[in-house]
């Protein structure tokens, strides 16, 4: 199946792109997608403890299942206001 990966702020800078499309083997979790991403861009690993994740623009968890066509986002600590 195919998912869209969204990356923001410094995660985007480290990866070089804010939006990636990746084919993953079903069933898959957010954790599996993150693991594949860190294999591509090892510098991302530093964010595993502090980031948040979202699936289809709703906050989610690393353990959540991902379906074909989902948008999975990785969010570094926020700094709005």
């Amino acid at each position: 199946m195919r998912v869209t990966v969204r990356l923001f702020a410094r995660l985007r800078d480290l990866t070089g792109s804010g939006e990636l499309v990746r084919d993953v083997t079903a069933p898959a979790t957010v954790q599996a997608i993150w693991g594949a991403l860190v294999a591509e861009v090892p510098a991302l690993a530093q964010y595993e403890k502090t980031m948040s994740v979202a699936v289809n623009a709703e906050y989610s968890t690393m353990a959540a299942a991902v379906s074909d066509g989902d948008e999975v986002a990785f969010l570094p600590p926020v700094s709005g206001g």
Binding site: R10, D13, T50, P77, G80
Partner: protein, 156 residues
Amino acid sequence: MPLVALTAQPLDLQALMAEVGADRVGAIAAFAGLVRDHNQGHRVRFLEYEAYEPLAIRALGRILEEAGTAWPGTRLGVHHRTGRIEIGETSIIIVAASPHRADAFAACRYTIERVKQIVPIWKHEHFDGGEVWLEGATANPDDEDARQAAHRIACA
């Protein structure tokens, strides 16, 4: 004018106050965050705000619901800038209107604290000689300790 908005345009506090306070409620408390020309010892040139827009709008809406539950009868609006913002410009405006000034102040303060906790917006600071992404709180809307901390700050 929507009560919740992300916009690349300059923010209009007067207009948001008119929208939120349209039912003549007694007390309005408002907050505006302005871009400062210095931060942590260096001279800031400008900021850029990036947002995960659909989730940011949802998170702002959630905060307004939380505040509406905590301070019934209080009406709120919050607008956040995105994109490049110059020194002295406003990055966020919050308006809280209530029959009671204590509720208006509390709801306004709660909202800015919660924005900094759970809204997926990031500040990219461009200073003399470099740039840095500021990173504050790990966003977790279900972190009840964080929510209660915001509530304590707001109405202690």
